[in-house]
């Protein structure tokens, strides 16, 4: 069995630092809500649809509340109050507000409004819980794939074209299909509506698109006898709303990271920290596996030099996840095979990193990303980089295996790129089926020493972050060589200080529900 000799004391110390780091952020942020958290809340209460200008009704409603200074109390009770008072559904309230026919106010009977909001929320929670059960039944019925699960993306920009490609991918062997979303979506402060056919580098994440793809994958999964997991992006300015939509439509995985938006999308730090807490609570309750984004660090920083920043970030992401009720097997902590192919012994370092992560998170559902940064237009060479990535993945027992595309440096995947990528992985996984069981790494050897070194560096950097706090650490460019400040970035205007009587039924219901 591939095992490295690591100092458990160091691992424990690193984890303790991360716990304190995450809790401090959580404590600081729990006094705020955001516009998208409130919109997500409304969505979960049944508000959907768009107005004549294609502006989603949750946005209309939340803007309305914001204008009236009501948002600080939480949208749920206000809307529930209006529902009771006018005998309307949440959707009808939203429509009436959008039509200018209704102006909301603080509920007359605050306690009653909260109770009815809680009742509505409980119903939605039942629906989501039922989706969770349905997932389990489906897996039971049609069958579960062997790990590493093959994860493939579709990114045509057109949901109907995506479906064709996703079906073909599943037939060819994909276990997970991720619908990449359009280039601009993460910076939109609303979620587009309906089935969409015009994205750039990906297809818009909309509830209807989720539904269409879910149905297609259920169908093909039944045909081929393997439950096919559906993934989307729960990042960006609408993270909580997408979490809500995904929970309702039975997505199985969500890309969700506590820092990705900050670092790579220049989204405001507060906004992101607040949003990710709510999102993850929803994900946790819905039985969704999150995928964190540490792999991205290695696209801007060097995979060798910055290996410890990946592990440090994973430990922090883990602690944030615990706060939201996620279980270890829902934690798709991300890392990547981004080692420079020209680096002598690079494969050894990559094995060391992957195995280190495996051992530090023995129960996590690790997500391992293929080479991207060092891929070039030489598709033949790239195909081999991907093959060695496949080797490391099976050797170190990764769980979620993103398939490398030989055309990574050129275009979003063509159908044949995906086909060949699956073939690549299946060949490697099959011909090396039990290799992980047969290979041992020399004690005190290069691989083990490298892993120990990265672990030690991780302990060090986490102690440092603990000292200065996570926001300051991000300010110093600790992760990905990119620096962001507390008040910079997009979306700060959507951060709202909660009033003392702020109310939202979902976090408590959901946190209780998963335990």
């Amino acid at each position: 069995m591939t095992r490295l000799n690591l100092d458990q004391g160091q691992i424990d110390r690193a984890r303790e630092s991360a716990r304190r780091i995450a809790h401090r952020v959580f404590d600081d942020m729990s006094q705020f809500t955001t516009t998208t958290v409130e919109r997500a809340t409304l969505r979960l209460m049944g508000v959907d649809g768009v107005d004549d200008n294609q502006i989603p009704l949750p946005n209309r409603l939340v803007s309305h509340l914001q204008e009236l200074g009501l948002l600080q109390h939480g949208a749920a009770a206000v809307v529930a109050g209006a529902m009771a008072e006018h005998n309307l559904t949440a959707q009808q309230v939203a429509e009436a507000v959008a039509a200018g026919k209704l102006v909301l106010a603080r509920p007359k009977h605050d306690k009653a409004a909260r109770q009815s909001a809680e009742a509505i929320a409980a119903k939605m929670c039942d629906h989501i819980a039922a989706q969770r059960v349905l997932r389990a039944q489906q897996i039971e019925k049609v069958g579960e794939a062997r790990t590493p699960w093959l994860y493939l993306i579709v990114a045509t920009g057109n949901i109907y074209e995506d479906i064709v490609q996703a079906r073909a991918a599943a037939e060819q062997g994909a276990d997970i299909v991720a619908v990449i979303r359009s280039t601009g979506q993460s910076l939109l402060d609303y979620v587009p509506y309906g089935a969409t056919t015009e994205g750039f580098g990906g297809t818009y994440a909309t509830q209807e698109n989720f539904r269409l793809m879910r149905a297609a994958l259920d169908e093909v999964g039944t045909k081929i006898g393997r439950y096919i997991r559906l993934t989307n992006y729960c990042s960006g300015l609408c993270m909580p709303e997408i979490a809500a939509m995904g929970a309702m439509e039975r997505l199985d995985m969500m890309l969700n990271d506590s820092m990705y938006g900050i670092i790579f999308r220049d989204i405001n730090m507060k906004r992101t920290f607040i949003d990710q807490f709510f999102s993850r609570t929803v994900n946790a309750y819905a039985g969704i596996i999150i995928n964190t984004g540490e792999d991205n660090y290695l696209t801007t920083a060097d995979a060798f030099d910055a290996a410890h920043t990946v592990l440090a970030s994973q430990l922090i992401n883990e602690q944030f996840a615990y706060i939201s009720g996620l279980k270890p097997d829902q934690m798709g902590l991300g890392h990547a095979f981004e080692i420079n192919p020209d680096l002598e012994n690079g494969f050894l370092w990559e094995v060391a990193h992957a195995q280190l992560v495996r051992q530090v998170f023995p129960e996590a559902c690790l997500k391992y990303m293929p080479p991207t940064k060092h891929m070039t237009g030489n598709i033949f060479r790239g195909h081999i980089q991907d093959a060695l990535f496949n080797v490391v993945s099976t050797l170190t027992g990764q769980n979620i295996h993103l398939l490398g595309m030989m055309t990574e440096a050129i275009h979003t995947p063509f159908i044949q790129d995906r086909f060949l990528a699956i073939q690549n992985a299946k060949y490697v996984f099959g011909t090396m089926r039990d290799l992980h069981d047969e290979v041992e790494f020399r004690a005190g050897g290069r691989i083990e020493s490298r892993a120990q070194q990265v672990l030690a560096e991780t302990v060090g950097i986490l102690a440092e972050i603990e000292k200065i706090g996570l926001p300051a650490a991000i300010g110093r460019g600790t992760f990905a060589d990119i620096s962001r400040t507390m008040d910079g970035g997009k979306g700060l205007d959507g951060v709202i200080a909660k009033s003392a009587d702020y109310y939202n039924p979902f976090p408590d219901l959901m946190l209780a529900g998963v335990n």
């Binding site: 057109n158 070039t376 598709i379």
Partner: protein, 251 residues
């Protein structure tokens, strides 16, 4: 429906959208790498009818050669409804059915002589068809009790093969050709059929050729009765043979 309706059915390569025409291309240019070499590669792709060709990779190979990888959008399309692949017309039966048919139609064993001819030393293909063991779980002709299968192996001169066919009164001659460099197989195959003509027995035998680069179309062009490519098995060629024999001996 009594009247056959042929509707056009145009097809184009597919990348990620119907009719986007995406194709991948690679080749070497015998010039050292520079911007002009890349442009030459791009222009070649244009000449081939690729829109928006992109040289996504170009690398110097030393000695004045450059390797290029390209993607582009193929303008051409073909009408599938007009495509008629030449293929031997018969239904592939299983071993038992073939044996039964031979017994019924011929009333005696069918004699099949096979070889991989001239300098070609690849026996695996002809063995796959003729030897007991067969290939990929498909038994070979030796295992058919209504077939007398004589496998002469590889590197067999055409003269030898013809002599043996005459001696054994072969109904069928099977030839394998694997090496195709500089079209050597065309020379070899032509030589054999000329010899059979010269001996005056061309019409008396069913003449079949097979190999990884052989198509039925090519076989027909060379004056053979049928050609079989990769993934053909004993039952394919035996089905064809008894079908063809029956046709020829129909009154």
């Amino acid at each position: 429906m009594t009247q056959q309706q042929i509707t056009e059915n145009w097809v184009k390569p597919y990348g990620d959208t119907m009719n986007d025409g995406r194709v991948q291309l690679s080749f070497t240019l015998p010039v050292a790498l520079d911007e002009n070499a890349k442009e030459a590669a791009r222009q070649l792709a244009l000449e081939m009818g690729l829109d928006e060709p992109a040289v996504v990779h170009a690398e110097d190979m030393g000695q004045g050669f450059s390797f290029c990888v390209l993607y582009g959008q193929c303008k051409h399309r073909v009408d599938l409804s007009r495509i008629k692949v030449a293929k031997p017309e018969f239904e592939t039966l299983d071993k038992d059915a073939i044996n039964a048919l031979i017994a019924e139609k011929m009333g005696r064993k069918m004699v099949v002589v096979g070889a991989c001819i001239e300098t070609d030393a690849h026996t695996v293909g002809i063995d796959a068809i003729m030897n007991m063991k067969g290939y990929n779980g498909h038994k070979g002709l030796e295992s058919y009790h209504e077939v007398r299968a004589i496998n002469m192996g590889a590197q067999v001169d055409s003269e030898e093969l013809v002599a043996r066919a005459i001696e054994e009164q072969a109904d069928v001659i099977l030839v394998s050709q694997v090496v195709t460099q500089k079209n050597i197989h065309l020379d070899n195959l032509t030589r054999l059929s000329d010899l059979l003509e010269a001996e005056g027995i061309r019409d008396r035998v069913i003449l079949v050729v097979g190999g990884p680069r052989i198509s039925h179309e090519l076989a027909k062009e060379l004056g053979y009765d049928a050609g079989f490519g990769t993934k053909s098995y004993a039952e394919d060629v035996a089905s064809f043979a008894i079908h063809e024999w029956t046709k020829r001996h129909a009154v």
